[in-house]
Symmetry: C2
Subunit: 156 residues, 2 copies
DNA sequence: AACTCTGTACAGTTTAAACTGTACAAAAAA
DNA sequence: TTTTTTGTACAGTTTAAACTGTACAGAGTT
């Protein structure tokens, strides 16, 4: 077994696993970046990532920032090393599920609020002639309620 | 209460609800198209949709095809009407959740299979010197298992 | 202090997705 | 049959996302 075999396997793993990670709403680069870090046993610098993925350092910088915002990677300090070192958060399932569910619920609720506001506005006016629109609105708002409760179940 | 108020409200509802629908993986146009049909009480033609959304008929055609593939809209027949008429599937929650969960599980399993294949290939070779890579691979495969079981719970 | 290194802001480029208009095959009407 | 209508294939355009290279501020080193 030589190094090139390991490298090929690593490359294949990155490619496949990144597809799954993308489904959580990460861009292709962010996904590959995360997977790369996850497969490494030591924290890596922007230059390491840039070389390993064959993309510019600027891309690494912005990608890492996003991952950091999602709490998927962490900046670690190591004595004597000037460059920033990043490592993947290793609680895979928890990290992704929590992020994902939270994102869904927040977005869904945001739209639900807007729709409820429209609902109230319509009720203030006299719309006896147009019952369908409020009926539909009620159903749509209820749909958002179901979404929230379903995704909340997913979280725990 | 005049028509323009109803039209404005309809427009606002489409805008907001479409954002939620987009989260299920539909494109902005597909989402708006679905919501438009959902809010209408009669089936509509491609020309109706084109005019209502202010987009080309070609876009409507491709959009409707996608929605049809997802089983989110249905072609309905009405005596004496030449044009195709489409209506939204009204089982909102069931339609979207089933689609979504199925899509997730299929994609996740697809990647899991590919990763398991890599795992077997690596085991065939002698890789005692590199235990980390198989350890990580095991964890990643397990992550896919957790995903599947979580999303399966969401379905029922 | 001056000099070096590192991360990122920003403008510009490349790449991919969304969308349109024309043209035409298939079906309906005359 | 010929004529009209309807949906979609396809090529081309517009719009948005991804990505890069240069330049520079701030921190570290000498």
């Amino acid at each position: 077994m030589n190094n090139s075999t390991i490298e090929n396997a690593t490359y294949d793993i990155i490619s496949e696993f990144a597809k799954t990670i993308e489904m959580f709403g990460l861009s292709p680069l962010e996904a590959r970046l995360f997977v790369y870090l996850y497969l490494q046993n030591q924290p890596k610098t922007l230059d390491d990532m840039s070389e390993a993925l064959g993309k510019s350092k600027t891309s690494m910088s912005t990608g890492i920032r996003s991952l950091s915002d999602f709490n998927l990677v962490t900046l670690v300090w190591r004595k004597g090393v000037r460059k920033d070192l990043y490592e993947a958060n290793n609680e895979l399932f928890k990290s992704f599920m929590n992020n994902y569910v939270t994102k869904w619920i927040n977005a869904s609720n945001h739209q639900k609020d807007a729709l409820e506001k429209i609902h109230h506005e319509l009720k203030k006016l006299n719309i006896e002639e147009y019952p369908e629109i409020t009926d539909n609105l009620t159903r749509i708002i209820d749909f958002h309620r179901q979404l929230e409760s379903s995704f909340r179940r997913l979280q725990s």
